[in-house]
Amino acid sequence: MNDMNDIKQTGLAKYIENLKSLKSSFANSFLRSGIPTSDKSRTAVVVNNFFLHLHGAKTHINTLRPSYTLGLGLISFFLLVIVFISGGFLMVYYSPSIGTAFNAVKDINFVVFGGKLMRNVHKWSGEAMIIFVLLHMARVVYTSSYKRGREFNWVIGIMLLVLTFVINLTGYMLPWDQLSYWALVIVSNIAAAPKELTDIFGITQYFDIGGATKEILLGGTEPGQDSLTRVYLLHIILLPLGICIALGVHFWRIRKDGGLSKPDTLVGKGSGVASISPPDKTGGIFPTHKTYGLMELARGRTPAVDNDVENTVTSWPHLFIAEVAVFILTLAGVIAYSYFIDAPLKEFANPAIPENPAKAPWYFLGLQELVSYSAFMGGQGLPGLAIAGLLLIPYLDREPEHFGIWFSNKQGKMVALESFVIGSIAVIGALVFVVNFGWFRNWWPNIHQLWIIAINPGNLLLGFVVAYSLYVIKRTGSTRMGAISLFTMFLVSYVILTYTGTVLRGPNWEFFWSSSQWPVH
């Protein structure tokens, strides 16, 4: 009996013991090496965790400087997370059929608990992504962060930008209201715009690449159920998948390319060294200032020759606190905005009557301004060239100096300012001209379309931007200055054109100072 009791006792005691240590044993199993207490174990947490090991075990303090990154890339990523989660919720009620989609969205707005907020959050965080991805790009450009092995990651970044635009656009079409329908009409016809070119060469009947693209996109010749199915497929599977893959590569490359960019000269905190100059080795797979390495797991004297290491802190908890803070900030911002501003929902799609003005979503209105000169150039040619130009930036500017410093130097700041002013003048000048005097077709109605494709305000603007940045390179003798100039002008053009398309264009795409002056239909 005693024995039995003993055994029972020990069994129960073990059980109670296990119960007592549940917290630490679960934490140990979850974190693999337990709740960290030392720098070593902090490092181990990161290295051993599936999600966390995407980060370095140690993080350079420059990475944590809010004024350096402004957290823009991170915000973009968190917006994506919010979009994915809220999108998943919306899918519970949404059904991609032209007979039910509109009612489903109405029901989400009206009777689903928190439905309106969820829809707003999805909509606004998606659109905010566009802004933050662009700002993130601007940060990368202005801090020269596309250099020293990061060239390809810049390319991935541009891909993500394009994917962000497209996924937003496809989402716009799902409610199947007037906005959706006419945006789909316009977009599918932009897809068909190469017809302008094939028409000129008279080969449309043999090789109608534009028409084929349009029909593949729509699953027909006009928007209908098949189009909605396809757009839905793009929106919830293909594009998210593309984004996830591209984003995976993007993050992986950040690590492999040596972490976030940082200036070669940095005042290290407490290092006692005013200026640290690592050996200058650009490019390469293993730059000297990489932030991971087994030797960093050890304490004490290390074979490191790079003082850089001294300016790091353990990612756990410093980096993670920062990330959580930015995530909550993003979420708070999105929810606050969504609480006050509702996502639009117009009348049910009506193929007989276009909206007047029929506008694309705002982020495409810069392009719509351009397509109002020529559908092909504005919808495909110019965006294509702009993207090509952006892609080429890291390959055409390879100057290693001023890496990781905002605007490189004083001259860079001046060039950015100057390009901002000149670019604004050029865009506004072009717009003022077109609004007041029209373009070729208004002067010579019989002019051949080729002339308009070749010479239109959009092309001239692009030509001017390229020419001006080349002039800047020639004047300053620095390709870096050219890159700053080019990107600044790109950004200014995008913003001004978008503003014009959104606010200043009214019915019949006529110019109005504000929408309060629009004539009533």
Partner: protein, 466 residues
């Protein structure tokens, strides 16, 4: 130091997030309709006459009310605010709690019919602004003004029944529609003229279909239709439509026109009590198709909109000159170059029988006396002299090239194909009831040779270019 920055950021953001989550939850938990339902419940509890009523009132669940009409896939949630709609205790309450007026709900239980079938508005919506479809809510079918509400009755009921059982307005409107010749210009169900737009489905068209620029007040299709009847050119400046009705009469016609919806009610909703064959006597047909232009047909009238004189087709002098076959030909084929529609079954959709009945009606006052014949062949016509006479005598009304203005368009194929003797008689005797005077010896005093010359010239007009 950096961690402190991020920790404070985290704290502040978390507090902001918490605040907004709290606010959002609160507003999700306190929607507009809940307030109305609470009011309703409190009202019932307060005014309960006996304990049992009171107990029942206290048991009222507060929650979204929905009437789902399976056959129409319609969800009406109006009763979430209008909970008292079937409650006799609410007969004198303020909206939204008031009981439905009249005894309509006896035969139209809310559970079967919902609300928006009759009242329109957005049944799915859960707030007043969007449910009533006010302007800028992007809903095409705002709540229907009560003065036009009877148009909804006609979705299921016939006009004969409506006339006697509470649908007087829409039945009256239907009478106007039949009596004012609307179908002379507008097709409905494939029958009617081509001058105006077809009316099918007009009552359920999207708001954007109507040019709302000149509409006074709310830009709804109800106001558009009504104001367009009052003064068509005020709403559509280039309209050629006639303005027959104003004020209350046009309200009635509006009520009727709003019944032209493209949606078909499910069969189990329809209730046709007194099927009355459509009126197909000559007079009714004349009123349905002809009267808008020809009015009583006794006198010809120059029309400022159509810019021509509309012939007096029921004037004895016209009928005396024209026999039934000729009338039938014109009715069937129309008159090229004028607004006269081809009424045959292929075109405007009238059957042979109907056309015959109309002709019978038009020709009922034909005088027995025959006209004195005019033997044109007897005269050797001089076209050149005819032209001179024409320019002096005829061109003032018929135009220099016979293109017509106050007078008839003489280049018209019907005139050109007409028997010269018929034309000569017309010139000689004129047309009483029209501005066409007699040019023969009883009138202007032209001799028969002159008339023959003019007729011979008129016959050459078709070759003249304008």
């Amino acid at each position: 130091m950096q961690s402190r920055f991020y920790l404070s950021l985290l704290l502040i953001s978390s507090l902001v997030l918490l605040t907004f989550v709290a606010i959002a939850t609160y507003s999700a938990l306190t929607p507009e309709w809940k307030q109305y339902q609470t009011e309703y419940k409190d009202f019932l509890i307060k005014n309960a006459k006996d304990e049992a009523t009171r107990e029942r009132a206290e048991k009222i669940d507060i929650g979204i009310q929905q009437i789902y009409l399976t056959s129409m896939k319609k969800a009406d949630r109006c009763t979430s605010c209008h909970r008292g709609v079937e409650n006799p205790l609410m007969a004198n309450a303020e909206q939204p709690h008031r009981q439905h007026s009249g005894n309509y709900l006896e035969n139209h239980p809310v559970a079967k019919f919902g609300c928006t079938i009759c009242h329109r508005g957005q049944g799915q919506a859960m707030n007043l602004r969007e449910a009533h479809g006010e302007e800028h809510t992007h809903w095409d079918f705002p709540i229907m003004p009560i003065k036009y509400i009877q148009s909804s009755c006609a979705l299921c009921h016939d006009f004969e029944m409506l006339k006697h059982e509470g649908g007087g307005h829409v039945a009256k409107g239907e009478e106007f529609f039949r009596g004012k010749g609307c179908r002379g210009c507008h097709k409905l169900n494939g029958v009617g003229g081509d001058l105006g737009k077809a009316l099918d489905g007009i009552g359920s068209r999207a708001r954007a279909y109507f040019p709302m620029k000149h509409v006074v007040g709310d830009r709804t299709i109800y106001n558009w239709v009504k104001q367009h009847f009052d003064d068509p050119r005020q709403i559509v400046p280039e309209s050629e439509m006639r303005a027959f009705l104003t004020g209350e009469e046009s309200d009635l016609l509006t009520t009727y026109v709003l019944t032209f919806t493209s949606e078909q009610m499910p069969r189990n909703y329809m209730l046709i009590k007194n099927i009355v064959m459509p009126r197909t006597d000559g007079e009714s047909l004349y009123k349905m198709y002809c009267i808008a232009c020809h009015s009583d047909g006794k006198a010809s009238i120059y029309d400022e909109i159509l810019k021509r004189t509309i012939p007096a087709i029921m004037n004895p002098s016209f009928l005396k000159a024209i026999d039934d076959n000729y009338l039938k030909k014109i009715l069937k084929e129309g008159r090229q170059g004028t607004q006269m529609t081809a009424w045959k079954v292929d075109a405007a959709g009238l059957t042979e029988q109907e056309i015959d009945r109309i002709i019978e009606y038009i020709a009922k006052d034909r005088p027995a006396a025959k006209t004195e014949p005019f033997d044109v062949a007897k005269f050797k016509a001089d076209v050149k002299r005819g032209e001179e006479l024409f320019n002096i005598r005829c061109a003032l009304c018929h135009g220099k090239k016979g293109e017509g203005d106050l007078g008839l368009n003489l280049k018209n194929p019907v005139v050109q194909a007409a028997d010269p003797a018929f034309l000569a008689v017309t010139v000689r005797d004129g047309r009483a009831g029209t501005p066409m005077p007699p040019f023969g010896k009883d009138g202007v005093g032209l001799i028969e040779q002159d008339i023959a010359d003019i007729v011979s010239y008129v016959k050459t007009l078709s070759q003249k270019k304008l």
